[in-house]
Symmetry: C2
Subunit: 395 residues, 2 copies
């Protein structure tokens, strides 16, 4: 085990914390670019409450609305343009993962003269990893992405149809203002997709990390068990603030680096799903619900002991001496049953995706990230035909 | 659940990381006060390796050795005097919890004109919580205290016989350079005391925190299970670097704030033990091994469900519907058996402590910290007679 870690984000977690936005933001700037997605924060009144809090604290507000799901580089360029011309000195993301991801990249793009797409890590040469960005404050309205307390972002290029990612220390939000009340209006389906996203963030490290991280294993299992227990309640009753808070908290933890620390994890399931949602406008968490179990059946053969541990510790499947793979498969089946029970899709057909482009999904995935043998990193690494096979098994 | 959290420490964790000390320190200062405890780091060659690394990176070294176990405020004053007269601009702690705690307070005391004891939180009025300190780098040589990545310190006043604590944001180390190789020479008994310290850091929050923190419960259980599994191996074979690394990592996590986050935990077992080790020069972890199980038997009556959860999840004790307390007690017995199995004491008599001063221990504890009804905070709060009873049960 060998690693470095530093997450400087100041986390403020409380029901009702939105009312502190102005106080929190005024420590970092006087003129905020307030970034939002669709109209839901306006319909719910959250936008107006945010603006009131900011103005009360003497922070003026410039609006950048309309960040789409699977946010586009063109939206980033538009937001950076507004921030620059309006001389904003702080970027506030009020929304879900798309809004937060776009906000981070806007904050870096404001200070970068070139094409912001240069900052992305999709296998190209001469990546310009940003060294500075405007301060960012994240106010998540959805429990899913974990973007609120990490330094990564995923953005799509609508021209090249590439969904790529960025990671840079300057993108850690100064403050993550996490108010579970803001998730009370999220509909059941997107609540469920969020739960799947949370779980998948930790299964990636759990199944694709190095051996010899027993404490991190326990942390990952803790996130999975908590997200399952409380996610089910949040889907069943969206007004259950206790369930919303627990799921929101699991979302923060699942991708702020604490759980994956030292695992040197790869994210093959995310990489494959990104390709799907770059070409089809599907919800990321729904895509993960389809890809993850299919990938698990593939990967379990290479690492049955680890998948058997998952089955035993998460679902209480009895150990089967001499048949670890059988135990592993039972765990995967139970995981699928859980996902189905909260309303997640399990087949590509449920997402409107058929077999026509399987090869292209595989090629696009490998185009974005591959090891020196051209394979998708993970345990085990995947060639093009492996990716096609996994997706075909999920048709 | 409602909390704020920020831990800015840069964690560098690797076997062999000591060789990077110079590189790491040179980013924070050019003249280091190198603080050490007894002579063990000199005998082992670790001191010389540290000095070499620092000099190679252009960092000059001023020595402050002889920080005693249960470090004294007079040592802090001595260290601050050296740092001031030698114009040190960074403080490096190379040692165990005592050395790291003293180093943090030295770093603050250098910048404070008054009596450093003013900065401590033992129920007195007009506490001077420090707002600034020299940068601190921690290099732990023992897996126990967790001081390497948090902003607290415990110091004894040899005149008043008070062992008090300090907590301030400026005391977060800039870097925690954690090299499990440095713990290879720790003898079996102190390895075991360290394991007990690690476990007790998380049981405090687990048993004395608020209700409704299921994810934090899982994290705490993860630390306990990992510390038990790998602690046993480290005690059995001190040269097992894998076991040393896992225990060291558990030590960092157990008190860097991640596990206790949002639990609003009290630390009654630590408070009672501090009184014992202020009056008797016993190892902190050994004192905890005696006090914690005795306290658990007392506290389980007030919170049997939580102790039954501990019994079930840590030791696999079967649930006993209708007899949660019975299940809880079985868990505590198994915990005692574990502590005994790694060589920890379980009775005060093993520490050379008899019944003569029980009343004084209780009064001293309550003098340092008490709620507005004069009780020691915890679940349940303890009056003087409760503390006496708990200690008497451990004679």
């Amino acid at each position: 085990m060998k690693f470095e870690f530093q997450n400087p984000t100041h986390l403020v977690f409380a029901a009702g914390a939105l009312s502190r936005l102005g106080e929190v933001a005024s420590a970092h700037g006087k003129r905020a670019l307030l970034v939002t997605g669709g109209g839901s924060v306006k319909r719910s009144g959250v936008f107006d409450r945010a603006v009131s809090s900011l103005k009360l604290a003497g922070v003026s507000v410039v609006e950048c609305s309309g960040i789409e799901p699977n946010p586009r580089i063109s939206s980033v360029i538009r937001g950076a343009g507004i921030a620059r011309s309006e001389k904003c000195d702080v970027v506030i993301a009020l929304g879900g993962g798309s809004t937060m991801d776009a906000s981070k990249v806007i904050a870096a793009a404001v200070l970068y003269e070139g094409d912001p797409w240069d900052m992305f890590l999709h296998g190209q040469e001469n990546v310009h990893v940003p060294a500075s960005a405007l301060p960012v404050i994240t106010v998540p309205t959805l429990a899913a992405t974990g973007s609120e307390m990490n330094c990564g972002a995923v953005i799509s290029n609508e021209e090249s149809k590439v969904k790529s990612f960025i990671q840079a220390n300057c993108l850690y939000p100064k403050v993550a203002l996490v108010d579970p009340e803001l998730t009370l209006t999220v509909p059941a389906d997107h609540t469920a997709y969020g739960v799947c996203d949370i779980i998948t963030h930790v299964t990636e490290g759990y199944f694709n990390g190095v051996e010899g991280t027993p404490l991190q294993d326990r942390f990952a299992e803790g996130v999975i068990l908590t997200a399952m227990e409380w996610g089910k309640k949040a889907v069943a009753d969206g007004s259950d603030i206790e369930a919303r808070a627990q799921v929101q908290w699991a979302s923060v933890v699942a991708l702020n680096g604490w759980v994956q620390i030292g695992t040197d994890a790869a994210f093959p399931v995310h990489m494959i799903e990104h390709t799907l949602s770059a070409l089809h406008d599907i919800a990321h968490g729904a895509g993960l619900a389809v890809v993850n179990p299919a990938w698990m059946r593939f990967a379990a053969k290479a690492r049955p002991a680890r998948f058997a541990q998952f089955a035993q510790r998460i679902f209480g499947v009895p150990a089967r001496p001499g048949d670890e793979l059988g135990c592993a498969i039972e765990g995967i089946e139970r995981f699928e049953a859980f996902l189905a029970s909260i309303g997640c899709p399990l087949r590509l057909s449920q997402l409107g995706i058929d077999a026509a482009l399987l090869q292209q999904y595989a090629q696009d995935t490998l185009h974005i990230v591959h090891d020196d043998q051209g394979r998708l990193p993970g345990c085990p690494p995947m060639g093009e035909s492996d990716i096609v096979d996994v997706l075909r098994s999920a048709l």
